[in-house]
């Protein structure tokens, strides 16, 4: 099979989406490489057992691959699409578990409600994933400001960087996180 696009171009999101839709297996590998951590983390936190989470995460990629012709780049990113599939997968498993439990116990068992909600969880994991993709210096600056509650001036002092550089790292970092949330939120009911 002749590859449709060169592997390097797959770095580009729209090229990845196009290759994925066209059935280029390397696009599946690349999508897995980029987003399997995110998808698996979502499944793991939403489902009670590690084995279920592995099965569900794999099923997300299998369903995406089999339904690749249904992916509409106009309606969102590949990452957001995968997360939408992951949500459905998790919800379906919860429903099935609840049905089985009802049959067994013949009383309305409460769903094992994941806290936070799937939407919140998707948001949190997206941000965590994007944080890990910032440049090391940006990430450090953002981390000090976000998690250690340091002011811009304190971050500059801790990192030994000019205040202007720190301001720009934090502003760009926060903007990047926000954009990722806006672009990649999974399909929501």
């Amino acid at each position: 099979v002749t590859p449709l696009v060169s592997a390097r171009r797959l770095d580009d999101d729209s090229a990845l989406a196009e290759a994925f839709r066209a059935g280029d297996e390397r696009a599946l590998r690349e999508a897995y490489e980029r987003w399997s951590g995110l998808v698996h983390a979502f499944c793991r936190r939403s489902l009670p057992s590690a084995a279920d989470a592995e099965e569900a995460a794999a099923q997300v990629f299998v369903s995406a691959w089999r339904g690749r012709h249904t992916f509409d780049p106009g309606r969102g990113s590949v990452c957001g699409w995968l997360l939408g599939i992951a949500r459905n997968e998790v919800v379906g498993r919860h429903r099935k578990a609840a049905r089985e439990r009802e049959l067994r116990e013949s009383l309305a068992a409460a769903l094992p409600r994941p806290a936070p909600s799937p939407d919140e969880l998707v948001d949190r994991l997206l941000v965590a994933d994007e944080l890990a993709r910032l440049t090391p210096e940006q990430r450090r600056a953002v981390g000090l400001a976000f998690f250690d509650d340091l002011t811009h001036e304190q971050v500059a002092a801790v990192m030994g960087l000019p205040l202007g550089t720190v301001k720009s790292h934090i502003r760009r970092g926060l903007t990047t996180l926000r954009r990722r949330l806006e672009v990649d939120r999974g399909a929501r009911d």
Partner: protein, 221 residues
């Protein structure tokens, strides 16, 4: 006059800015910006800075089983970035000293000009600051000399790979000094593999590429 980005970011992070609060009370545009930034900060703070662990290898195996695909690991076009964070910390702990002097070794005149090893990927590399070179000796030995690699949590392995097709060939491991002389197997055309890749491997019994690349160089030809 609208609020500056800097003011909005500071306020979103929780700094008290009474003047800005007075402004956003009256300006829906700035209030909207501030709300979006503050929501992002809240989400980030709820999750913390732990990063996401990579999916277990079993997930990829299940996918390839189910779809009937070749089970090679994904080509590491983009090493898992979340591992880079750990590597940065590890890097501070110890640096592997670079080149060993080839005193007493037989003279192997390089058959090819050396190519340069560079950290991958360009942003958020596993081994920022690591360098080195690769050359092909006259006896078809690939000579790898890397410097500045952090002490690995595992070991470094040298591969020939073709990022476009995903074909790859493990040549051997890098010594503690960051160097290795690795014979290229008879019958293998190095030109089939445009890239020399140095990966970080765990002693986990899995002979395939971990997906975590530290350095790459064009294959010397």
């Amino acid at each position: 006059v609208h609020a500056t980005d800097d003011q909005l970011v500071r306020r979103a992070l929780g700094e008290p800015l009474p003047d800005l609060d007075r402004h956003t009370d009256e300006c829906p545009a700035c209030a909207g910006e501030l709300a979006a930034l503050a929501a992002t900060v809240d989400v980030a703070r709820a999750e913390g800075d732990a990063g996401l662990p990579p999916a277990p290898d079993a997930v990829w195996r299940r996918i390839t089983d189910e779809l009937g695909l070749a089970p090679e690991r994904p080509v590491p076009l983009r090493p898992r970035v979340q591992q880079a964070g750990r590597w940065l910390l590890a890097g501070a702990a110890a640096l592997v000293a670079g080149v060993v002097l080839a005193v007493g070794l037989p003279d192997r005149t390089p058959q090819t000009p050396a190519t340069l090893l560079a950290p991958v990927p360009a942003s958020g590399p596993v081994a920022p600051g690591a360098t080195g070179q690769v050359r092909l000796a006259a006896d078809r030995t690939l000579v790898v000399e890397a410097e500045g690699l952090p002490a690995p949590d595992g070991y470094y392995e040298v591969w020939l790979l073709d990022p476009d097709s995903g074909r790859m060939l493990a040549l051997g491991t890098l010594g503690d000094d960051g160097t290795a002389r690795l014979p290229v197997p008879e019958g293998v055309a190095v030109t089939d593999y445009p890239t020399v890749d140095v990966s970080v491997e765990q002693d986990d019994g899995d002979p395939t590429h971990s997906g975590v690349s530290a350095l790459r160089a064009p294959v010397p030809t």
